[in-house]
Subunit: 208 residues, 2 copies
DNA sequence: TAGATTGTTAATCGATTAACAATC
DNA sequence: TAGATTGTTAATCGATTAACAATC
């Protein structure tokens, strides 16, 4: 029942590819074809697909639309989760208005910011004052919070979100957050990701 | 010599913590203290630190500033890499102006966009027309490209970057890119990351 | 000295890959 | 039938964790 982290990260990639390549695979697609397109090992893809769907047929593979449905069902994409975002700076606004999250089952209901200039009551999603955070989270029963503030404010915002009953935090600030054990924190550290990219690039030179 | 991917992702986290907690650890810090602060296992931190520094002393641990220097040296932060970004939409602009990358050794020299409205010659970094991409990359000898365009344009942009001699691509578009084997692609798939967060949150409910 | 800390060697764990039987 | 494909069981691989000797 419980899926591994790598699997959870690969499933949206499969999903994305399956949705984007309707013309190429109008009806069915095999693990092999998917693996080759995505540059992954066939066996791994086969095992991944077996984990989320039992509709694979020999000789045929998977029915494209069924596979999409099974992956979405597995990832619970139909069960949309509401979220709030704190920090309506450039990154925050970009995320607020990014349409891709809706497809992935996340609905960012509103943003919050201490800076009155950043507020916008009319736009969709709106950006409100921090003082409204708790009542908003409570009344909408929000469980997910996204942090896109400056690193030195992140812990304070984290504490505020926890106080509002938030259960999972997606942290874009390059700060290690301290939170109660029952609050899930996922760090999206772009600088760390970048470090990995640069190092891999350098190893390449080194190997040559 | 070659570092594992998990290690490469933890090092910037250590670095970040070490830099931010000068008052707490004015001189030395032990693997144990670092591990507890970051909620990691002591042994793992110890092994990680041993991989990048040989200056650890029994009873004392590591000298904070030396450790910072060793991690930065290991990650080659002094060797700043130049990069270009294609797609000056909200996310693109946010990344263009994010100061954290400089500290991590990435200097985004310029952005490029097909939309004349998005261009800005005066701002820093500037945003130019796509037609200038190749000459810019060639003349500045750029090896890293960042893609922040819409998914349906990502492959085209990827091809253009490859044609400009780019060797590594950091892709923020939710699209699997096809590229020559010697071009390194790192996908930063926020929707995939989100899926992992949501699933972990759900498992939690399930466990209860 | 005793205790805190290091680095290293061996054991464990989890994920990927290989091998293969089953099916259409 | 032969071949393409599936799902599953066993082997491998790599990373984490445990155990421990060495040091100040």
């Amino acid at each position: 029942m419980k899926a591994s982290k790598p699997l959870l990260r690969r499933l949206p990639v499969y999903l994305n590819y399956l949705k984007a390549h309707e013309e190429e695979y109008p009806y069915n697609i095999s693990a092999r074809q998917l693996a080759e397109a995505l540059n992954l090992r066939e066996v791994m893809v086969r095992k991944d697909l077996a984990a989320v769907s039992n509709k694979g047929c020999s000789r045929i593979g998977h029915i494209r639309v069924d596979l999409i449905a099974d992956i979405e069902a597995f990832l619970n994409y139909s069960n949309v989760t509401d979220a709030v975002l704190v920090g309506a700076g450039k990154l925050g606004l970009a995320l607020l208005e990014y349409s891709g999250f809706e497809k992935a089952g996340l609905h960012i209901l509103a943003g919050f910011d201490t800076d009155p200039v950043k507020r916008r009551n009319a736009a969709q999603p709106p950006v409100y004052s921090m003082s409204q955070l708790e009542s908003f989270c409570r009344s909408h029963n929000i469980h997910i919070g996204i942090i896109t503030v400056a690193p030195d404010q992140a812990q304070k915002v984290c504490d505020a979100l926890v106080a509002c009953g938030i259960q999972a935090i997606w942290n874009f600030a390059p700060t290690h957050l301290i939170s109660p054990d029952d609050v899930l924190i996922q760090n999206e550290d772009l600088a760390a990701s970048l470090a990995a990219l640069r190092m891999n690039l350098e190893y390449r030179y080194y190997d040559k």
